[in-house]
């Protein structure tokens, strides 16, 4: 098998986004009848590599050959025509159309503009049977299908292409249950027999060992290792993925926790969800780790009162608080910097200063009037101390870069004089320079006696910042580690000691997560999110994605 010529070959490919080097001299060979597994931490460059491969991104340098012919300026369409197909994690199906229409969108069988319904249905039937969806009607509306079925429809769609030489799977099993994953993997093995080359990206290490022939490990945008999967075991693979010193970007962690700043006891988000206890002391940084969908963000939103809970007691600074809404928790001295700044944080049309003061207006106000000038001056001082780079604090906040927007949100919460500050993925989408600054500020705040909770998927960050790490799995606390733990320790605890944890029904793509809280928002015309909420309640919040922690560049 290995003697075969590669159908796709990338050599020394590099790609930079502005100052950030996403890929450096990465080579990749895809050989017919082989499954090449792409492994790497978040931000290692896996997504970038895939996007270069599928023509979504133009490489800066290096060569790209399909069937020995050099591809000079690939576009998604030309790459697809050449036989390189991709199944994405974010589904590309049109939710309101039928399965059959989705399968053949863009090339619907038609005579003189009228859709040939019979032919469409027959061809769709064929395609669905091929992926094992024998009882799915081609007329079903995609929106009403469970996530797993949609994923399989997506795969069926890819396979209806005229030329299928290479299929790229970008975390296809994240949204699937165990049984569904098994079916998909079986199916991939069948494709392998058909002589199709595959690139398989997953966070589940055991899947790689199950179906992989070859493994390519990326680290920090460069090729870490590559070789036949038989040369690897789980430990060696993790070392190849992680294998680096924790950088000294992070502040000192020789702090000791004082009295409990926040204590959570028996918190349950749903009737039968696991109950969670946690505590963070004054002057302490508590890290919360876990895989995508292990319930970290949801836990934070519940603690902050933004998502309803069914049971649980909260104490802030020793005083019991009922988390009935963000406002109550804010008044009690808790602040939350959300993961998704755009959707759950910024007020884009408002100025920087208005964004900072919005949470403190009431406390500073008398008779409902806007607070006096002093508050704005205090906001300015805070922004100055955070080294916000802006022409004027009156300009709209949407004109700032990611790191500076995060500083604005941080200033918003600092202005409320919190006792506890919660950071959800504080450095997501922030460049390295601003990251270091944020770490310093977080360390400073802890030193000043605030209780800090940091959720991060980026393990070096989590280990570098936290004094103590709580690892979540399937919505429950899997264990607690000291700040001196290693990335391997966290990974193991998060993924249940190497064994795949319980199946997933909740989609891992960010959208539903934002949809969850959104369903309770009063903004009208957005009926959609309710469905994702429903899915969440039907099943205990156990979405999981063992093997890795995900945040790709």
């Amino acid at each position: 098998m290995k003697a075969k010529e590669p159908v796709v070959e990338l050599r020394d490919v590099s790609k930079a986004f502005g100052p950030v080097q996403a890929l450096t001299d990465v080579s990749l060979r895809l050989i017919p009848g082989q499954v090449n597994c792409l492994a790497g931490e978040n931000g290692a460059g896996k997504s970038t590599l895939i996007r270069v491969l599928t023509g979504a991104l133009r490489r800066d340098s290096g060569s790209y050959e399909i069937d020995g012919r050099s591809v000079t300026s690939p576009t998604p369409a030309s790459v697809r025509a050449a036989g390189v197909q991709a199944v994405y994690q974010e589904l590309s199906l049109l939710p309101h159309l039928s399965v059959a229409e989705n399968l053949f969108m863009g090339r619907l069988p038609a005579s003189t503009g009228v859709i040939a319904r019979g032919r469409l249905r027959a061809r769709a039937r064929e395609a669905l049977d091929e992926v094992g969806l024998t009882d799915l009607s081609p007329d079903a509306i995609v929106e009403r299908l469970p996530a797993a079925t949609r994923q399989l429809v997506e795969i069926a769609k890819v396979l209806t292409a005229d030329s299928v030489k290479v299929v790229v799977f970008d975390e296809p099993t994240t949204a699937l249950t165990e049984a569904e994953s098994a079916r998909l993997l079986e199916y991939i093995l069948r494709l392998r027999e058909r002589g199709i080359a595959m690139l398989y990206v997953t966070h589940r290490l055991e899947e790689m060992f199950e179906i992989g022939d070859w493994v390519t490990v990326l680290r920090d945008g460069s090729l870490s290792e590559a070789g036949p999967i038989s040369d690897y075991d789980e430990d060696r693979l993790i070392t190849a993925m992680v294998g680096r010193e924790i950088s000294s970007l992070y502040p000192e962690t020789h702090r000791h926790a004082g009295t409990p700043a926040l204590r959570v006891r028996g918190l349950r988000r749903f009737q039968d969800s696991p109950s969670i206890d946690l505590q963070v002391g004054t002057g302490e940084i508590l890290g919360i780790g876990g895989l995508l969908g292990s319930g970290r963000s949801e836990l934070l939103l519940s603690i902050f009162g933004a998502d309803p809970i069914v049971a649980g007691e909260l104490e802030v600074g020793g005083k019991p608080v009922k988390p009935s809404g963000p406002r109550t928790m804010m008044n009690a001295g808790v602040g939350l910097l959300t993961e998704d700044r755009k959707v759950l944080g910024l007020l884009p049309e408002l100025s920087i200063r208005e964004n900072v003061t919005i949470a403190s207006l009431r406390s500073g106000s008398r008779h409902g009037l806007l607070p006096p000038r002093e508050q704005a001056e205090e906001a300015d001082r805070l922004l100055d101390s955070l080294r916000l780079r802006a022409g004027s604090y009156d300009q709209p906040v949407s004109t700032l870069s990611g790191g500076n927007q995060q500083k604005v949100l941080l200033a918003r919460w600092l202005l409320t004089k919190p006792k506890v500050l919660i950071f959800d993925e504080p450095t997501k989408g922030i460049d390295v320079g601003a990251k270091g600054e944020l770490y310093t500020v977080i360390g400073d705040l802890a030193a000043k006696g605030l209780g800090i909770i940091v959720v991060s998927s980026y393990l070096p960050e989590l280990l570098g910042l936290a004094d103590r790490i709580l690892v979540l799995r399937d919505g429950r606390v899997a264990g607690e580690l000291p700040g001196t733990a290693t990335e391997e320790d966290v990974l193991r605890l998060a993924s249940g000691g190497g064994r795949a944890a319980e199946p997933v029904l909740q989609e891992e793509i960010p959208a539903p997560r934002e949809g969850g809280p959104a369903s309770s928002r009063p903004a009208p015309g957005e009926g959609g999110p309710a469905s994702s909420k429903g899915a969440g309640t039907a099943v205990p919040p156990t979405p999981d994605d063992p093997g890795e922690v995900s945040r790709d560049a």
């Binding site: 100052p19 884009p348 009431r362 409902g368 009037l369 780079r389 004027s392 400073d444 957005e526 009926g527």
Partner: protein
């Protein structure tokens, strides 16, 4: 007269005085006391002050208004007479009051299509109460209260039943108009007491009462929007309701309130219209909702929320009034005026889009 430049860029100095360069990041650096690596994208471009910054988003409207007034002054001897201006004020006032209410809803990224019908219902109801012998002020206040209640219903439909504002208020448009036609049997309610008619037709020191009321309403709304916490919350809700909620803004309360205020002002407008006409007309206010929305848009409001001001909405109403008034004076076919106002809306929004895109490209 204010500067007659419209978003003419004038370069000024940058406001920041922080040093642009700094040392490398390192573990030994003193927290917060160090300057991070320069971040090219975050460097702010040179600050440009425009009329828009000074007068707000209504600056374009102000320019149009001044130009229109200037042209009419030159073209018609009658335009700048006290009589005509008083007449203009009476025509525009009610319309401006509704536009200001509409503006609040638009600022939250909503829309209130029911204002015209609510206006008709409030006016006709007050007229009926008066004819039935109710004293003037209770009838007046009851008419305004009807508008407010309908506004609250709109707000509840939007925040509790989660209906899109367009649908909720479209339903209310039909319901309110239907109620007024049923209760009046589509007949004009006549025979209103003279004391009631004086409210809208009287003057104080030669200034029409209606104008005073409209100025007070606009002034109060300007104050609320720019100087109160509630006003800031309105912009926050319009900008991003979920972010606002997580920042402790009582989003539901704010949303219900803006619909209530819009209903209240529509009710007030209806009662004043009945007073001005001396009759309760069941079909009064038909189509006013679209004019109110047009006034807001001409005055710089964005239908996506969070952009606009009370002065802008009032200016927009005034522009439409001045165009109508001038058209009458110059004996221009009223149909052409409709075309002119349609073009004006497109130009106003087109300019705004252009500006947004240009500033997005710049920064």
């Amino acid at each position: 007269m204010p500067k007659l430049i419209w978003r003419e860029p004038i370069a000024t100095t940058t406001i920041t005085s922080r040093q642009p360069t700094g040392e490398e990041l390192g573990p030994d650096a003193v927290p917060r006391a160090r300057e991070p690596e320069p971040e090219p994208k975050a460097e702010a471009p040179r600050r440009v002050v425009t009329l828009g910054d000074i007068a707000g988003r209504e600056s374009g409207g102000l320019v149009v208004l001044l130009v229109a007034v200037g042209i009419l002054t030159l073209a018609s001897d009658e335009f700048l007479t006290g009589n005509n201006l008083a007449n203009l004020a009476r025509q525009v006032a009610i319309f401006g009051i509704i536009a200001v209410g509409q503006l609040l809803v638009i600022l939250t990224a909503g829309i209130d299509l029911s204002v015209g019908s609510v206006l008709g219902l409030s006016g006709a109801s007050t007229a009926q109460f008066l004819v039935a012998g109710m004293p003037i002020w209770p009838a007046f206040l009851l008419g305004v209260a009807i508008g407010t209640v309908l506004g609250i219903v709109n707000g509840l439909l939007v925040t509790r039943a989660l209906l899109p504002p367009f649908i909720a208020t479209l339903g209310m448009l039909g319901i309110a108009r239907g109620i007024v036609l049923v209760t009046t049997d589509a007949q004009t309610v006549q025979g209103l007491p003279a004391g009631f008619q004086d409210i809208a037709n009287g003057t104080i020191l030669g200034i029409p009462n209606l104008l005073i009321i409209a100025i007070v309403v606009t002034g109060v709304m300007w104050f609320v929007l720019s100087r109160t916490v509630f006003g800031r919350y309105i912009y926050a809700v319009g900008s991003n309701p979920e972010s606002a909620r997580l920042a402790g803004v009582p989003v539901r309360m704010v949303t219900i309130s803006v619909y209530a205020i819009s209903g209240l002002l529509a009710g007030l407008g209806g009662v004043l219209l009945a007073s001005r006409l001396g009759a309760g007309i069941p079909t009064a206010g038909t189509g006013f909702e679209l004019n109110a929305i047009a006034a807001c848009v001409i005055g710089g409001a964005s239908l996506f929320g969070a952009k606009g001001s009370a002065i802008g909405a009032a200016t927009g109403a005034l522009i439409m009034g001045v165009l109508n008034n001038g058209g009458n004076l110059l004996a221009i076919n009223a149909f052409y005026l409709q075309i002119a106002i349609g073009v004006l809306i497109l130009v106003a929004v087109g300019f705004d889009q252009l500006n947004t895109r240009r500033s997005a490209a710049a920064g």
